[in-house]
């Protein structure tokens, strides 16, 4: 039996707008942490922030790859977002995962259409805790420190390879509990 009993946004129009502005602010100022305000109770193991980002951005026009570790929430996502799920990670515009994926396997866009690349929605345990990273680039007045748990130990090296492809490359939205942050491809991590 598919359980889709957990509701989505209480006010779909305003909640989606509020969540989008948080994502837009996060993307414009890399590493800044923003709360997701609408109260959401998605099925485990989805965090409220992850669920809100999906409800805000994914719909039947988008392709989505779901990490097997989050498959318990697949029926809820399918019912509320209606996104086309893909078996191959390369075919998805949105990659929903709890483990940072191998970016070589993701769609990183083309030189003429770098915007066709994947956006990784990474659910982690905590933001503002964990190993410290140094961010620099567009959106930041000066280099800033950023902390998150759950990123691979060699993340700066992995991200350097992603940033080297610029303007191609993937963008990252990090979700933890009721908070989000983002690392667009334009940012340098050290």
């Amino acid at each position: 039996m598919i359980d889709i009993s957990e509701p989505g946004f209480a006010d779909p129009v305003r909640d989606a707008q509020g969540c989008f502005r948080a994502v837009l602010a996060a993307m414009s100022r890399p590493g800044s942490v923003h709360p997701i305000t609408p109260a959401l109770h998605p099925p485990a193991p989805l965090h409220p922030a992850t669920a809100a980002v999906l409800l805000t951005l994914a719909d039947p026009e988008t392709t989505l790859w779901i990490d097997p570790a989050l498959s318990a929430a697949s029926p809820w996502i399918a019912f509320h977002c209606g996104a086309k799920t893909r078996a191959a990670i390369h075919d998805a515009r949105f990659v929903l995962t709890t483990k940072f994926p191998d970016i070589e396997k993701l769609d990183r866009g083309s030189d003429e259409a770098p915007e066709d690349s994947a956006t990784v929605i990474l659910q982690i345990e905590r933001l503002e805790e964990g190993p410290s990273l140094r961010l620099a680039g567009p959106g930041l007045a000066s280099p800033t420190d950023f902390r998150a748990t759950g990123l691979p130990a060699d993340f700066p090296t992995i991200w350097r390879a992603n940033h080297a492809l610029y303007p191609r490359g993937i963008d990252l939205i990090l979700c933890a509990g009721e908070k989000i942050a983002s690392l667009p491809r334009s940012v340098e991590v050290s």
Partner: protein, 277 residues
């Protein structure tokens, strides 16, 4: 004020908003790169800000305060009608004060007052492709952006220098964003170009007819194209404002009679009225 019955909040349907929002996020991630989007028919003609209005509709919320300017003025037809559009269809607060606005939709000017990190400025863009007058093929210009091949634009600037002794572009002056993408700043006067550089506010650009969205995140390097021996220069009419006396703001020239009388006044009406107090 409450939103008009029978319409969705801010006019656009939610599916369209999500499509524009996805384009906006990619635009922010690749500063200066034009993202194609499914521009909708809007209840105003192309050239009146259909791109800007769609971007504003996708980002605006009940907590926002909207300011709309046309060539710096809050009281011209285009600005008044777009402001009323969002007042009646989104029920949002509107203002003419730059300092009070959270979203500023603009046609062809940047306010004189420095914008803050909590503000978003939305530009109405007629022609998003800076190379369009040099290379009419969109397939070709896409390739030129992909290869960062902007020699053609430098040749145009060089030909200006050779013919006129200076770079003869007074508005829509091409810029390099984040050292990578050549971008049209929309037809703002070249006077406003220095404000684009490392602006604290997020800058979003919408071109409705041409179906393109692009963006500049806060604090991003934006350089007006020039040559070492012919550096970029922002120019303004060499007069004080006839109303507030400002010597630094961008001026409009107003013909006042049939005897050749003329008056130079600030193009930014909010700046001028604050300055006259």
């Amino acid at each position: 004020m409450s939103a008009l019955d029978g319409y969705n909040f801010a006019y656009l349907d939610e599916q369209t908003k999500r499509m524009i929002r996805r384009a906006l996020l990619k635009a922010v991630a690749i500063p200066g790169h034009q993202i194609p989007f499914g521009s909708r028919e809007m209840p105003l003609p192309y050239g009146w800000g259909t791109g800007g209005i769609q971007v504003t509709a996708a980002i605006i919320g009940p907590a926002d305060t909207l300011k709309v300017i046309d060539q710096g003025a809050d009281d011209t037809t285009n600005a008044v009608s777009i402001r009323r559009f969002f007042a009646s269809l989104a029920g949002v607060a509107t203002t003419t004060r730059t300092a009070e606005a959270t979203i500023i939709q603009t046609r062809h000017r940047i306010p004189e007052r420095a914008l803050t990190v909590d503000q978003i400025i939305v530009y109405q863009v007629p022609q998003p492709e800076p190379l369009s007058k040099l290379q009419p093929s969109r397939a070709e210009t896409r390739r030129m952006h992909a290869l960062s091949e902007y020699g053609l634009m430098h040749v145009k600037l060089y030909e200006d220098v050779a013919r006129f002794g200076e770079i003869a572009i007074s508005y829509d002056y091409p810029v390099m964003v984040n050292h990578r993408h050549l971008m049209s700043p929309s037809p703002i006067p070249a006077f406003d170009n220095p404000k684009l550089h490392r602006m604290a506010a997020l800058q979003l650009f919408g071109a409705g007819r041409e179906k393109r969205i692009y963006a500049i995140p806060p604090h991003t390097d934006v350089k007006s194209l020039d040559f070492e021996d012919h550096p970029f220069r922002a120019s303004r009419a060499p007069h004080p404002c006839g109303i507030c006396g400002s010597n630094s703001s961008y001026l409009d020239e107003v013909v006042t009679d049939n005897e050749g009388g003329r008056l130079f006044v600030c193009s930014d009406t909010d700046y001028c009225s604050e300055n006259s107090k």
